[in-house]
Symmetry: C2
């Protein structure tokens, strides 16, 4: 998701404050992405790593560690770990989704091929585990390997939940926690753990990342139906065309009459889509107010994130993270 | 590769000796393969995990740990880790190779789909890292995360090396070390490390696994050109049809005259294959004696494996591993 909007940018303030740390993260990422034996690896990854990724997740780790007073070197390793896991999942998601655009550029699997996307993603996962092992901190290893399992589980759950009208909001939330929030919450949590923060602080950091990630994903799913393709780098209706059951549609299905239900069943479950179907889908979402309801949920999660982070001792970084929770939902507010 | 032959079976003797440990490994694999949230995961993996996998790699870990006097519980975790990494790479390999058979049964991606293969593979990788983290031993974490990176690097290198007649035997060896031997050597090495073996013993265990894995893969590549499809579960000439440049062909290309070179360039580099090409390829391999030369290399690596393991103190398990190195090449001997 692009974070460019004309409003205040806590993201840029974080980047400025964490400037020196971020430079180290970027250097470490470049160094570990290299492969002596397989030059195709940096070719494939450079495309993703340089393509306007805003380093949101690594900044969460750096900010969490710094605001908890960390002075060691390993927050940089953990930030790079988190970015490698994120990039690996993007590569594997490209194979999976056959999505035509990612960050406004052709996906890796159109420039390269499925083989490269799968194997280079595996390489980045392995690099991520090497990096986190170098910290020597078993607790962060537990958190990050648990997160990796939760992410994969969420993606697999999405496979079965998508295209199935029986998917509930509870299952949607589980998918979102897996595919998005698990890495956000691990990113903030390991920042606190590496800094030796106390349990209450680590829990607050986890809760912040969890709620922020959920808000972030709901916004993404909402913008898929009402976003500006130029700003989001996604085409309106991609999720509909890919038959992904996201919150606006789940809510509309729950309110559907027999005829509407038949429409959703044909287009999402059976994948029989015709000209005008997307417009009709948008019409149904508006008619039942589910885009507004989805927007309200995103705002609620952003508020939860802010409330969690504000339990921590006051600091500039804390306030930037609190502002970030507003910012994530600014595009729909 | 199937290890069923009428000759003596060190593999079965290992399985009998390590019976109790193996039962624990199998129980742990079943427990960790389960997913509360995504029931498709065990459906996909059960197909691979139950389908006649002989647990060769986990047995290497168990045997190495036991022969070095280990009495703790973590060799079981490490053996399950190794099998999960192996199964994950098989799943991702299925996506990659579009191979029609794996262990004599349809591949997961024909029964399921590419999406499931990629994401369930990722889940198993994550589960592997959780398991190895539970050992609390940073040295085994280093070894296994390095191995995971080497495996992925080898697979990517294979992508560029395959279909390229400039591929040398040195590059082939690097690919084989990556895609096969890295996990064998990590399997034996971590067995020694978890048991607290001294450096010379750990090195011998590594050397054994490395040479055994190389022999194993060369045999596999050789049998692709001269095996019995019923025994190997592979069709003769799969590698040729998939344009994989393996040792028999690399050696033949090195000895090719202009006309032969044009043949290899057309069939392997350009992928323009016609009726009778496989027969002609086999004819060239026989004419230049490259199948025999490949066989000799496999035997040499098996001897290296045996020599390495025989530097360790005498024990029944040690002798079974020595016999195993003969056994791996028995089908071509």
């Amino acid at each position: 998701m692009s974070l460019d909007t004309p409003v205040a940018k806590p993201h840029d303030r974080l980047a400025a404050t964490l400037d020196a740390d971020l430079a180290e993260v970027n250097a470490l990422i470049r160094a570990r992405m290299a492969s002596k034996h397989a030059p195709r690896i940096p070719e494939v990854t450079a495309h993703l790593v340089d393509a306007g990724g805003k380093r949101l997740r690594p900044m969460l780790t750096l900010a969490a560690a710094r605001m908890c007073g960390y002075g060691g070197p390993y927050h940089v390793h953990l930030a790079a770990t988190v970015e490698f896991i994120h990039t690996a999942t993007l590569l594997h998601d490209d194979v999976v989704d056959e999505s035509a655009q990612r960050r406004g550029r052709p996906t890796a699997n159109l420039l390269w091929d499925n083989k490269s996307s799968v194997l280079v993603g595996d390489y980045l996962f392995a690099r991520a585990f090497q990096l986190m092992t170098e910290t020597g901190n078993l607790r962060v290893l537990n958190i990050l390997s648990d997160a990796a399992a939760t992410i994969a589980e969420g993606e697999v759950l999405q496979l079965t939940a998508a295209q199935n009208l029986a998917t509930t909001e509870a299952i949607y939330l589980q998918v979102v926690r897996g595919k998005t929030a698990a890495l956000f919450s691990a990113a903030t949590e390991v920042g606190g753990v590496i800094a030796g923060a106390d349990d209450a602080q680590v829990q607050a950091l986890f809760d912040y990342g969890d709620a922020l990630g959920i808000a972030f994903q709901i916004v993404d799913d909402l913008l898929d139906y009402q976003g500006d393709a130029k700003a989001t780098g996604k085409n309106v209706g991609d999720d509909f065309r890919e038959r992904k059951l996201t919150l606006p549609v789940i809510k509309a299905v729950a309110m559907a009459d027999a005829e509407e239900r038949a429409f959703w069943s044909r287009t999402i479950e059976k994948g029989d889509q015709r000209d005008g179907d997307l417009d009709h889908a948008l019409d149904l979402l508006h008619r039942h107010g589910t885009l507004d309801a989805t927007r309200t949920e995103a705002l609620t999660w952003a508020e939860k994130a802010k409330a969690a982070i504000l339990t921590l001792p006051e600091s500039d970084l804390r306030d930037m993270l609190a502002d970030l929770s507003d910012y994530v939902v600014a595009r729909i507010n």
